[in-house]
């Protein structure tokens, strides 16, 4: 059974590119347009990994990860942040809320798959 990855990004293009990259490598993918949608999906899905953007409407990525870590059923799911943001302050906040790693856009598919394989 292939592993499930939850991707969270308000950009449909980014979701499509991540879906293409991950599904061709054998992963199952489920998508959300922001943190709020992602939390709703977690009611019915148990992903092995979350990849989330930071700047999104309704709920940003770090707030979503904070909520994720507060859910007993999902608190240990690895969560990568994939964003254009690269400031040290934001990365530090990412560590504090429990992010597993920080990837700056644009991502290289080969590198993304390496990281995913390493984590899973």
């Amino acid at each position: 059974m292939s592993k499930l990855v939850l991707t969270v990004d308000d950009s449909a293009t980014m979701r499509q590119l991540m879906h293409f990259t991950l599904s061709n490598a054998g992963y199952q993918v489920v998508e959300a347009g922001d943190g709020k949608e992602a939390l709703a999906l977690l009611a019915t899905h148990q992903p092995a990994l979350v990849i989330t953007d930071q700047n999104m409407p309704n709920m940003d990525g770090l707030t979503f990860i904070e909520r994720l870590r507060a859910m007993p059923k999902h608190r240990f799911i690895p969560a990568l942040v994939l964003t254009t943001e690269a400031s040290p302050e934001l990365k530090q906040r990412g560590k504090e809320v429990g992010a597993t790693g920080w990837l700056v856009k644009p991502f290289n598919p080969e590198k993304l798959l390496e990281v995913v394989a390493k984590i899973l």
Binding site: M14, L17, N55, P106, F107, N108
Partner: protein, 344 residues
């Protein structure tokens, strides 16, 4: 906009008209800074957007050309594989290839098996004939043994006859007995002679048949089978060479497939320009809303603003400047080089 410090109006008693002491230069300086700041932002943002679009265009164009070349190459290699597997060659005036190779081999094997069965049947008949010859030979030996016996007895009787002839008184009776015995032996000898002749004749006939069977085997036309075997050997050698060629070509196809995958990854990286340019433009849009708010602040002054209203405007412009300085663009890059990765 409310002035939180209205109870500490720096210009008390000046409600109706702007005091000449109002720091207009500070206001103009604030506004000039705002214009510079936003002009820089426009320049930076448009530069970023253009850079991202230009870089994406160049990368995508290069990737698509490269993909096209590789797909063409894959097509040519695939055609070569097909041609290699569908080869034909002329052997003994016949056009042979993989399509009729199997048929030819089956035909050759059929001929060989047929010949082997025929030879086997002939060999069995040979064995039967040889068996017959062996039996007759044994019989002839027995008969020759009898002949030898008869010869001995005849010899003995001849001696007796000579002895009897020498005794005159008993010549007639004794000699008659001996003559009778000799006559019996001669008869027996004749019969044996006939039998032996018959055996010899039968043996000659058996040998003739044996000759015939051997002639039959020797004259078997194996030339067709030998020629077919030769053609099959040539074909098998050619198939072996072609298999090696096909293996090399398949390895080439695998390499091209790996190159295609790398180019596809490049395309995926390049297409992310859309998200990055969108973020740059969103940032400009957000700044545009702040400009609107500032323009509104100026518009709400009216024809003859009071000093207090001017003071409020000043505060609003300062607040706007603070807001703008905090509103940083998320996109720092103007190109599509892959971003950093850090695992915590």
């Amino acid at each position: 906009m409310q002035n939180p410090n209205s109870s500490q109006d720096p210009y008390p008693g000046q409600g109706a008209a702007v005091s000449v002491e109002f720091p207009f230069s500070e206001l103009f300086e604030l506004e000039a800074e705002a214009w510079h700041r936003n002009a820089d932002l426009i320049e930076t943002s448009t530069g970023q957007a253009l850079g991202l679009i230009r870089d994406a265009g160049a990368r995508l164009s290069s990737s698509l050309r490269s993909l096209d070349q590789r797909v063409q190459k894959q097509y040519r290699v695939a055609l070569t594989i097909l041609e290699t597997m569908n080869f034909t060659m002329e052997v003994d005036g016949e056009t042979l290839g993989l399509s009729n190779f199997g048929h030819r081999v089956v035909g050759t094997l059929d001929d060989l098996v047929g010949n082997m069965l025929d030879i086997s049947r002939t060999a069995m008949r040979l064995v039967e004939e040889m068996d017959g010859i062996r039996s007759r030979s044994t019989e002839m030996e027995r008969m020759l043994g009898e002949m030898a016996e008869i010869a001995d007895k005849t010899q003995l009787l001849s001696l007796n006859a000579a002895i009897e002839a020498a005794h005159a008184r008993e010549f007639g009776a004794g000699f008659a007995i001996v003559a009778g015995e000799v006559s019996k032996l001669a008869e027996k000898g004749n019969l044996l002679n006939v039998n032996i002749q018959a055996q010899i004749q039968a043996t000659r006939e058996a040998l003739a048949k044996t000759d015939e069977q051997v002639e039959r085997i020797a004259s078997k036309d194996l030339s067709k089978a030998i020629a077919s075997k030769g053609a099959a050997e040539i074909l098998i050698k050619k198939v072996g060479e072609n298999n090696q060629t096909v293996l090399t070509l398949v390895q080439e196809m695998e390499q091209i497939a790996a190159e295609v995958q790398r180019e596809v990854h490049q395309v995926v990286q390049s297409l992310q320009f859309q998200d990055m340019v969108s973020q740059v433009l969103e940032h400009l849009k957000a700044r545009g809303r702040i400009w609107n708010d500032r323009a509104q602040a100026f518009r709400s002054l009216g024809k003859d603003p009071s000093t207090a209203q001017m003071a409020q405007l000043m505060d609003a412009l300062k607040a706007t400047a603070t807001l703008e300085s905090k509103q940083l663009s998320a996109v720092q890059s103007d190109g599509l080089t892959e971003g950093d990765v850090e695992l915590f």
